[in-house]
């Protein structure tokens, strides 16, 4: 049984925030999903290797060649706020503490 507190902890790890009602809802939904997932426990996986990709490629290498970035305009057009070619972000410390 997953608790509301642990869901709140996971939300913090995932950089998400929820209202109290949402937290209740996510707790019960995740609990249901984890119950479904828990049937994996009945599978004997002793000594079974993990699969993380299905084509079995290993160490795909390429030459480390610098490529000049083309026009920055379309990239900067997507940036919420920027100054020249620099991306602006809010202060790392709280505004109130400025």
């Amino acid at each position: 049984m997953i608790t509301k507190d642990s869901v709140a902890h996971v939300a913090d790890l995932a950089r998400l925030s929820f209202t109290d009602d949402e937290l209740e809802q996510y707790t019960s939904q995740l609990d249901e999903i984890l119950n479904m997932v828990d049937q994996l426990a009945e599978v004997d996986t002793e000594g079974v290797a993990t699969t993380t990709q299905s084509v079995h490629l290993e160490n795909v290498m390429r030459a480390d060649v610098a490529v000049a970035q083309a026009d920055l305009t379309p990239i900067l057009a997507n940036v919420p706020t920027h100054k020249g070619t620099l991306i602006q972000v809010p202060a790392i410390i709280d505004k109130e503490e400025d």
Partner: protein, 483 residues
Amino acid sequence: MDFFKNDLSALHDQLASGELTASTLTDETLAAIHAHDDVDAFLALNDDAAKAQAKALDEAGTFASPLAGLPIAIKDNIVTKGLTTTASSKILGNFVPPYDATVIEKLNAAGAINVGKTNLDEFAMGSSTENSAFKVTKNAWDHTKVPGGSSGGSAAAVASGLVPAALGSDTGGSIRQPAAFNGIFGFKPTYGRVSRWGLIAFSSSLDQIGTLTRTVKDSALVLNVIAGHDDKDATTAEQPVPDFTAKIGQSIKGMKIALPTEYLGEGVDPQVADQIRKAADQLRSLGATVDEVSLPHTKYAVPTYYIIASSEASSNLQRFDGIRYGFRAEDVKNLKDVYVRSRSEGFGPEVKRRIMLGTFSLSAGFYDAYFKKAAQVRTLITNDFAKVFENYDLIIGPTTPTTAFTIGEKVTDPLTMYMNDILTIPANLAGLPAASVPAGFVDGMPVGLHMIGKHFDEQTIYQVAAAFEAANDYVAQIPGGAR
């Protein structure tokens, strides 16, 4: 232009002979979408660029490439330079990509014309296209039903005759399930066959780009263009790319086909199962053998998938932080607040649910019991397939347990929605090529016959699918509600 009567080859012939111009075809296609997108398939139309591209083709007069001048729709999680690409998420609502995905570069080079971007479940997470932040797409056969998902917009656009072909992406069935629900042909190539450079990543060990078309041959024509190694996607294979149309039309006499018992078991609508048994008999009458086999770990595919896909998604979606592009929350206190508020306001509920499940599965104390366990069961599921493929050329079954369900029916119940993908997920976990072929109707709604092939053996699927298509008239049947 009537795309129910004209497949890509017929359109190509008309363009090559000068009977039809690319501009006329493009103008007519766009006008029809503007006027008759009754299924709400499209999010954005590429009017100006498409028309300019058609005009240039007409001026050059070169229609040697089989796709030159032909309209195609693109799922909106594939980035298109200068054309808004949202992945149906508010967090990318204003995103205008500065580059083209490799598949778009290849289509452009072949002269294909991207007419517009189609709706999907947000970040391709869903099975009904109801998780889009922008609109609910309808099933081409019955507008009260879902088109499936996540490539629901691409499937409904092709099925309702708005475009002859579309690209989709398939992580757990997102091409094949909507193809089945809309009575068209959906194809997911082998993992590594098509570059994902420029596909907005959901689950990197599962995602694959593929096609949605009315006919089998049209799919092969599109795959011929988009397949192949790409230096920009290190997971693409250095395999030679054959002509995928080469075996279309060849007899399937002597073909050894397996029908897993588990694929007609509990949860599969008896009428759908009957339709698949009939399809198996038909394949026998065409000279193939069809034997029952077992894939014993099938029932663990859904939990395995939801752990792996959600874990990878939680990692992939960390890039959406409101800093460099996309939605940024206003009136924030500090940098962490930008991340938290932009993500919380920008992502929809299903995306958050999967990020939460994935973050949990990877978190300290739970990694072994969840992520590692799922990655081990994935090996067992892959081994099941390998064993069957020692003796068989192809595996068949239903694409989906039921026909399309009603809009709103499952959207509040994530678990029921997840179970809908049980038959398509295994091919993604094992990286195998797979397709859904129209196989008749139950109560007026289309049924899909699922075909799974060996790694990099797309051609056997095309061969058998084309033989099955030719033996039936399903491709000639069109939605009553379409224009």
